[in-house]
Symmetry: C2
């Protein structure tokens, strides 16, 4: 199994970075091949723009998705995007490790999705959800946050954690065809003891050891919708 | 009333940019004062990093929120962040205009939130939701997307649009104390006729004319939770 870890944290001694390092170590030990995109270390540019295309087909009116489709056909995506797409195409599983910023991914990681998930490869026309370009691959989120676990849930002060990460898990990963594994969430990280952090690392190690047995989350199947995406009964 | 429009689109002839321009025009005509942060035009840097602080208090272990709190106290935030905070502080209402990228904001706008919503001004300790730093101010989203309206909703193929924007509306805006007005959403934009686009512009003009009568969305009030954020009955 080939694994890509996409990591986004500005401090390489952070606990989030320890989780990334642990995944690298455990998965290598299991005999998997692991690649890492450390976005801060790479100084990854997260801003979708005309510079993403070596040839801009319509410089008079810039449409990002149309330019992506054209650049895929003509192999004219900018090299930094091509490198990331190649990593995704080699991978059987992508693990995203990041601190939750404003109940979502840090901008540098959002921009990795904006720029790398190109139209024509990841999706296009009726190719989405279980017909998306990434079917057969798995993805999962591993993230840290300051809030406590009891603050999230339908009756809790912040509501469910799932709503906040739905634009990543459902709108980006499931939409493009990935099987999305249950997320690994480390709560209250800035405030907990060294011992509690060790427990989280132990739990993450068990999670990783059990990776191949994890059941993906449920998302829509296009067979349950008609041509106009109205639900069939 | 002072209004700040935060705009994020790479093409200044786009329909999203027309919505921004219309808001600017209509609100100026109503006698409001309008400021605009056009993030692409400003070449805004969306990546949270050490460079956000003129003095890094702990260069050995970089903690973004702690550095924010320190920099607020010592007035040592980087100038590009200070300028944006000043605009927010002058504003009674912030309008965000953007195309939905991967069911959320483009990375350049996510990074505006990551870097500008600093700990110590926007929130801190028990200052969040209706006690957040931005209470008394309003905010609203105005965005365009490719999907059709019937594709969103609890029984629909993509589920509710609210889940996808909850990390902005609830996790970022309501959390810091803004009253969040109902979003203005323009569906199916790349595929519709010139006439249908004109109708959307007319609807947005009515929406803007009626701004002061719009009822904010409902979010939690801290008075309904105990000290540990468990719900009181």
């Amino acid at each position: 199994m080939n694994i890509l870890i996409v990591h986004a944290h500005p401090e390489n001694q952070s606990f989030t970075t320890s989780l990334k390092n642990l995944a690298d170590e455990v998965l290598n030990k299991k005999g998997y091949s692991v690649e890492i995109s450390d976005l801060y270390e790479m100084n990854f540019n997260p801003v979708a723009s005309k510079q993403d295309f070596q040839i801009v087909e319509n410089p008079e009116y810039f449409n990002y998705a149309l330019e992506q489709r054209n650049a895929v056909k003509k192999d004219s995506l900018s090299p930094d995007i091509k490198i990331e797409i190649d990593k995704v195409q080699r991978a059987d599983l992508i693990i995203f490790t990041f601190p939750l910023y404003w109940t979502s991914v840090p901008a540098i990681l959002k921009g990795w999705i904006d720029r790398v998930f190109v139209s024509g490869i990841f999706y296009g026309g009726k190719r989405f959800y279980n017909h998306g370009g990434m079917t057969g691959k798995k993805a999962m989120l591993c993230f840290t946050l300051g809030g406590r676990e009891h603050m999230f849930g339908d009756q809790s002060v912040h509501g469910s954690i799932e709503q906040y990460i739905s634009s990543i898990q459902r709108g980006s990963l499931a939409y493009t065809g990935f099987d999305v594994l249950p997320p690994f969430i480390a709560y209250h990280v800035p405030y907990i003891s060294h011992e509690d952090r060790q427990k989280i690392l132990t739990n993450f190690e068990s999670y990783l050891e059990n990776l191949e047995n994890l059941k993906p989350l449920e998302f829509p199947k296009l067979e349950n919708f008609d041509d106009k995406m109205n639900p069939l009964n």
